[in-house]
């Protein structure tokens, strides 16, 4: 584990997580959540858990983002709160 890479990735994870729950546009929120998943995938790859990173990249960053986008496409794009 190389600590400069680690610090950069973890700060990106925190930024993406906070941004994903604070934006009003749900489509941006879904995309930010995908970015968050991808950063988690990088973090796991750095830690050597390549299988977990692979699963996160396919399920978290790939398919679940598509499901969110499809659900937003069928409902509304703006959050009410």
């Amino acid at each position: 584990m190389i600590w400069p890479i680690d610090i950069i990735i973890i700060s990106f994870v925190v930024i993406c997580g906070i941004a994903a729950i604070s934006v009003k546009d749900l489509l941006s929120s879904a995309i930010l959540f995908g970015a968050y998943s991808f950063m988690m995938c990088l973090l796991w790859a750095v830690m050597g858990a390549v299988d977990v990173a692979f699963t996160e990249a396919t399920v978290g960053a790939g398919v679940s983002t598509v499901f969110f986008v499809a659900a937003i496409f069928r409902t509304s794009r703006r959050t009410r709160d």
């Binding site: 584990m1 299988d51 398919v63 499901f67 659900a71 069928r74």
Partner: protein
Amino acid sequence: MKKFAVILGLMIWGGLLIYIADDFPGWGDPQAPASVNLSPYYIEQSIPDTDVPNVVTSILADYRGFDTMFETAVIFTAGLACLFLLRSYSTKEPDVYLYRHTATGVILRIEKGGTIPVGSADFERIDATWVPHDLIIKTTCRLILPFVFIFALYVIAHGHHSPGGGFQGGVILGAATIIFAISYNLRTATRNITERFAAFFSAAGVLLYASTGVLCMFFGGNFLDYGALAPLFGTTIAGARSLGILIVEIGVGMSVMAVMSSIYYNISSNGRLNEGL
């Protein structure tokens, strides 16, 4: 005031978590309690026991086969829940169908009772979610899709030696279906990978997994003890366990692929499967 109390509570809670994290063993510490009891057995015995170099795969599909079987059942149940919640069979036919001739751009308006050019390659149906034909996206997706499928099969089959396995490969296969549905349209995708196909495969994957376990019982072993299948495959016990892992990974891949396609079809079309993203 309430907001302030919530923030204060969260800060105390988060501070406690960070304080506890200090007592955790260091990253990759060989003396950590988690890695002194069972892990050395898996690391040393994985190749003699199961002939699988990737320890993660041998733990996932062999040593903890029950766990993975019910994970697959969870995925299958998620697909079923999505189907039951979203799928609607109301066959409300629209009064007017709009068909566009792809070569010329002429739009045909067909009222109720008229002949519909169903299945003709020259016409495409226009509905509420129709988007103009995009040459770049369609061509790119058509070019990359065969490679995506081949890579997914590689990930399933090569899970013994490299990161991967049934879940990841199945998700990649499902994602390839979704790419196809997005780049063309949902009707084309449901014509090629039909809802019936997806439903059949999502059940068949779980069934393949469970029936492998039952087959082991017929050969005198425990449930999911692939070593008992050695006389059937004509290999050593370790080789039989390796082949058993491959079979159940294929089952997981089938199930996950079908469930991903089915969930996407239902979500993106409000459960009607006639028009969607």
